[in-house]
Structures are given as structure tokens and as C-alpha cells.
Symmetry: C2
Subunit: 211 residues, 2 copies
């Protein structure tokens, strides 16, 4: 919504003097109350100002840009995803754990010929170690959750859809698969990671009205 | 914002027929275009309808309740927190790992005389196991992060503040401490858990406009 100069001035006055009556705003600007009526009703209707009877006008600091949610809804996974940590399927469980500590991530994606074949989380690795697996010799593929049981999203899925999927499956992150070439034959090409950390950052952006 | 019956009808018509011209809305309702002018300008100013010149009116499905962000900002940690999993400090590391698997959580809070003394995550436990600790004998207090190095929030902190704290410290969850009695002498009484999962759910609520 575009405001004219007078409307912008009114907002400034209210911001600095709230609560302030219509009469007071008018006298500050040197206009009559009647002249300002259309401006004040526009600013109230658009919820930039809040009018309290017998008190005056307040500035609505919590007014949300009405398009902020639209902007978020239009965001694709590829717009927000982070860089995934990947190991090849013949990496030992021990080396995978070390890599996880070095990179400080909670899950690692396992590939074979650049295609996603599985996912291993701290929980899977803890289970492997507790189950007395020979972690120095055994490959990570013995401890991982294997495709097709891995839940993933596509790079052009919406952030909203990915968030729902992540919550529904109760996982901390989802591998992002690039399907831009439209070919399924070459397997699942991992290009990113969609996580609760990303969502938490987006949440903060939304409530601070900064997209 | 309260709509009258005619305004509600206009919204219904636009929803079902968008884009639709002012003339068409007027003829559907059996009013003149001039009669509807104030309603249409109110609905456009409040951004419930979007007017496109030479095309007509659209319903703004992405319009956000301007108070939704205010509602979220006013939420306290205690309004959204979940139930924490707690072990006492003399529990063995092995029993703690088992408890973590049974409850399917990523971190467990450690208490002594009902006061928080530490926090242990899957990462800490994996480290303990890899470090060849005697996990059957050793108490969890040997593997945990100890207070005062544990980052926590108070039950009456805002959700916004807690989200910032969680992201700043790069942790998955924060213990929630009840400070309602105002006494520090009895230690930190854990009453909840604030996690990225909770934030992700709030995020979904906000973008679906359902608080």
C-alpha cells in the first residue's frame, strides 16, 4: 500500500505521541479534523493505526506486511536449503562418526555413484555402537536407513510442504533431491538439506517481519 | 475487523468468481455500482480484496490476520513447551542411552535433588561410547554438559527470545526453568523443554494463519 506524504506524516506523529487524538494530530499538522478524516480512516482500515474510542490513535507496531506470508508460501526448498554432509557407502561407521563430529551435524547422507542410497543419524550410529557392531570395519551402509525408507523432498517443493513432511515423519532434516532434469533413471541426486534449524530461522524472520 | 452482511457477500462472490469486475459484483447483488463503492474500497484498503485495474477484484487468500504476529510475540515459553525427559545424576550412561531410545528424544536433562545439574545429548553419549568410557558403570554426570554451561530459558521468557537463544547457541533444545517463586537458592527447577520441533509447528501455524 502506497501512502501519501500527509499519511506518512500522520504515522510519524502518532508513533511519537501515542495515544493522540484526531484533533491533536490535525492541529499539529495545521489542518482541520475534517480534512484529515479520509486519511485517518484509511490508516485505521489498513490497520496501520489503531483507534481507541475516547483515548486516541495508536501506531500498530505489530502490523504485518500482508504479503509476508505470501512471500514465505512461495519460497521453494532450494531457496533456503543448506549444504549437506555426504559420505560414500563404503565409508566405515567409525569414519562416518568422526566426520559427523568434525562437521558437527546430526545426520549424514550416504551416496553410491552420486545417488542417494541412505541416511544415517546420530541415533542410528549410537544404535550401531551399542549393538556391538565392528565399527572400524563395517561400512556405514550397514547402519543407515536405506532408500526407499528415507523421507526426502524435491528442490522445487514449497517450504510449507517440506515443513509439513518433516513434522509428519518426526525427523530433524530431509535430504533435498534435485529433479530439475526430470529423469528418474539416474537415481536421487542430493543437492541440499532441509532442517528444523532453517525453519527456526524462517520463523524468526516472519515474527520480526523481515523477509 | 468486523464485516457487515453485504461485505461478507461480496467476499464470497469474489472468492468464487475471481477476477470479477465491480459492475459484475453489483449486478449479482442487485445493487448499483455506486452503492457498493464504499464496501469495495473498505475491502480493498483492508487488503481482503485486491483490485487490478482493467481486470477486476481478486480475493487475497494470503492476507494475514494483522494480529497473528502479535499473538505469537506475546506467547511465553510455558505456553508452548513440551515435557522433558529427566534422569538423576547417578543413572549409568548405558541406562541413559536406553531411556533416550525408549522415549525417542535427542537430549535428556540430568537432575540432583530435583535441580538441573546438566544436559546430555546423543552427541555427548556417542562421544562417551567412542571414548571407550565404561558406560555400564559410569554415571551420566561423567558424560553430560554441566551447569552453568547449559543454556536454558525461563518459563516466562517469550517464544521470540527463546528462539533467538536456541539459534545463537546452535542447540536443538533448551531446558525450561521455572522461576515463578523468584528464589534462586533452591536451584534450577526444570519444568519443560523448548525445541526446534515446537518452533517448526509454530511456523506452520503462522503461515497457515491458524493460531
Amino acid at each position: 500500500m502506497e501512502l501519501n506524504e500527509r499519511q506518512t506524516k500522520i504515522i510519524e506523529i502518532v508513533k511519537n505521541n501515542e495515544p493522540i487524538t484526531g484533533e491533536k494530530i490535525a492541529s499539529t499538522l495545521g489542518f482541520s479534523r475534517a480534512t484529515l478524516r479520509p486519511d485517518l480512516s484509511l490508516l485505521t482500515l489498513s490497520e496501520l493505526l489503531i483507534a481507541k474510542p475516547k483515548v486516541g490513535y495508536f501506531y500498530n507496531a505489530h502490523r504485518v506486511d500482508p504479503f509476508i506470508i505470501k512471500a514465505i508460501k512461495e519460497k521453494k526448498v532450494e531457496d533456503v536449503m543448506s549444504v549437506p554432509v555426504i559420505v560414500s557407502s563404503n565409508t566405515s561407521i567409525q569414519d562416518t562418526i568422526i566426520k559427523m563430529f568434525l562437521e558437527d551435524v546430526g545426520s549424514v547422507y550416504v551416496t553410491e555413484n552420486h545417488s542417494l542410497i541412505g541416511l544415517v543419524s546420530r541415533k542410528d550410529l549410537l544404535k550401531a555402537v551399542m549393538g556391538k557392531m565392528n565399527i572400524e570395519e563395517m561400512p556405514v551402509s550397514m547402519a543407515m536407513t536405506r532408500v526407499p525408507n528415507v523421507v526426502y523432498v524435491l528442490s522445487n517443493d514449497s517450504v510449507e510442504y517440506a515443513t509439513k513432511k518433516l513434522l509428519a515423519h518426526e525427523v530433524d532434516s530431509l535430504p533435498v533431491i534435485d529433479n530439475s532434469d526430470g529423469k528418474g533413471s539416474e537415481g536421487l541426486k542430493v543437492t541440499g538439506k532441509f532442517s528444523k534449524t532453517l525453519i527456526s530461522r524462517l520463523f524468526l524472520n516472519v515474527i520480526e517481519n523481515e523477509i
